[in-house]
């Protein structure tokens, strides 16, 4: 197994760093899947994360000037690694002014992702800062555990409001309640609600718009015939929702929320060619 990649462009490097920062805020540990044309950050350890799942993918060609991979075999030219994204993010902190960043799969005392940051220097010698991030190689037989989650049979699909406003409201609501209800309809309306003995708070977002999904059989039967004012809702752990909102470092060009009534909230954020999906299960 071999992997080496290099980023030279400052804008690409900063963008990649912001993505890794976002991932590090969403989960302590995740899978990094490398293929010849894409990188994936995957979380699907349902028990440990309280049922939350995450799938983030990006085209390596948009970030790396060099990208070489030799996977577990010729047929399966991919590598699955488990790592702590916080370590990755910390090592990229020093790279803001870097001339280049090289990423390699290495074997130190254990398998590592080695990040070599080449920094500008006044002298003719280049200064290189190296970080070794321990990783666990995931054997091929476990790869099925990390398949891309299918887009659920949602009842409602709606564009999210301005994330900053949503985050402010949810931050305050977190002081008042452990759970929050997210509900939305096909009429561009979304409500965030908390209800305790002491206080009930509802925030109403209007005119959000609903994404035009092409009918391809993935929507539930009820989707097309649905009364547009009918709300689909799910009650979720407010900390998970806030974790998702607080982690966003990149302003997405599209932010979508799909709701399967009383089952799951599915967020899809798109920014240039990076997509991030986040699933929060409904509480019983």
């Amino acid at each position: 197994m071999k992997f080496r990649a290099k980023v030279v462009d400052v804008a690409c490097l900063n963008h990649f760093t912001r993505i890794v920062n976002t991932i590090s805020k969403l989960t302590k540990s995740c899978i990094l899947r490398l293929t010849s044309d894409k990188l994936f950050f995957i979380l699907s350890d349902k028990v440990a994360s309280g049922g939350v799942a995450m799938w983030c993918q990006l085209f390596q060609g948009n970030f790396f000037d060099e990208f070489q991979i030799e996977g577990v075999s010729a047929e399966y030219n991919e590598i699955y690694l488990e790592l702590t994204p916080e370590n990755f993010s910390r090592s990229l902190k020093t790279s803001q002014n870097a001339k280049a960043v090289k990423i390699k799969l290495t074997m130190k005392h254990c398998p590592c992702i080695t990040i070599a940051v080449e920094l500008p220097s006044l002298s003719s010698h280049t200064r290189i800062v190296t970080h070794d991030i321990p990783v666990t190689i995931i054997p091929r037989k476990l790869w099925n555990d990390f398949e891309e989650p299918s887009v659920p049979d949602f009842d409602v699909s709606i564009y999210l409001p301005v994330l900053k406003t949503m985050k402010s409201v949810v931050e305050r609501m977190k002081n008042l309640s452990n759970h929050i209800v997210i509900e939305a309809n096909q009429n561009g309306e979304m409500n965030l609600k908390i209800d305790t003995e002491l206080v009930s708070v509802t925030t109403h977002f209007k005119e959000l718009g609903n994404p035009p999904w092409v009918e391809d059989g993935t929507q539930s039967d009820s989707f097309q015939r649905r009364d547009p004012t009918n709300m689909a809702k799910a009650r979720v752990d407010i900390k998970r929702l806030l974790q998702f909102l607080a982690g966003q470092q990149v302003n997405p060009s599209k932010a979508i929320c799909n709701i399967v009534n009383k089952k799951v909230i599915h967020f899809v954020l798109l920014h240039e060619d990076v997509s991030l999906q986040y699933f929060i299960p409904a509480l019983v």
């Binding site: 900053k164 402010s168 409201v169 305050r172 002491l198 206080v199 708070v201 209007k206």
Partner: protein, 287 residues
Amino acid sequence: LGRTGAMLRSPGDPGDDERFVFVASLDNARNLSNLLKAIHFRDQVTFFASANGIRMTAEAAKSVQGNAFIQASIFQEFRIEEDSVIFLINLTVLLDCLTIFSASSLPGVTTALRMCYRGYGYPLTLFLEESGVITVCKIQTQEPEETLDFDFCSTNVVNKIILQSESLRETFAELDMSSDVLQITMSPEKPYFRLSTFGDAGSTHCDYPKDSDMIEAFHCNQTQCNKYKISLLKPSTKALALSSKVSLRTDNRGFLSLQYMIRNEDGQICFVEYYCCPDEEMEGLDS
């Protein structure tokens, strides 16, 4: 009715309004929330409204009381159908609701507020709007408790000093918190006005000369030296931080009244007042 009227008509019949015994609206919710932060040293506070406006009261240890006054003229709309409305409410929850949009506010953007109350047993309902997004909060109200009457009247005032808050802020910020008490000396003779602490590192004295620039009015008739528990006065520093002027008055029992003049974002003046009993162990020179 302006912005609050247009955006925040309560949902339901137009006749709904008639069923509210109290309605108050503000174009800028911060003109209320900032003031309330100045008495936020307890969760439970008493909410009192009359035709004059709103007064909210927080108390601790039966020895200190903070009051925030927002007169009716500050509000864009203020209607009360009864002589007075009074209930107990959780100020922490109220502030979380009033500031629901504040983490995302751009400079210059304000949250509009409409407060409604249907009467005894009903929650206090808040309608808040910013940039077209509306939040509705219903906060449980409780049976009001009797608030302390410090029986502080101007005829019994012995000493009074009005000064610029700026100068007192520095002194209060540097108070030796290892001292149990803050001693306040006010006198027609030297040292005129002195703040003292007695902490682990020793005693400190901060003296203000009678003709100091910072002192706007100096009316001291008798030498008084009173000690107050520092822990009880510490919350008043929030009010001090917001204010431009502060008046300190003591009466013949050594009770302390601190009145803070606070300008809100629209330049209107509101008051916060703290009362504090002297620390029982120490007798003032003239108590």
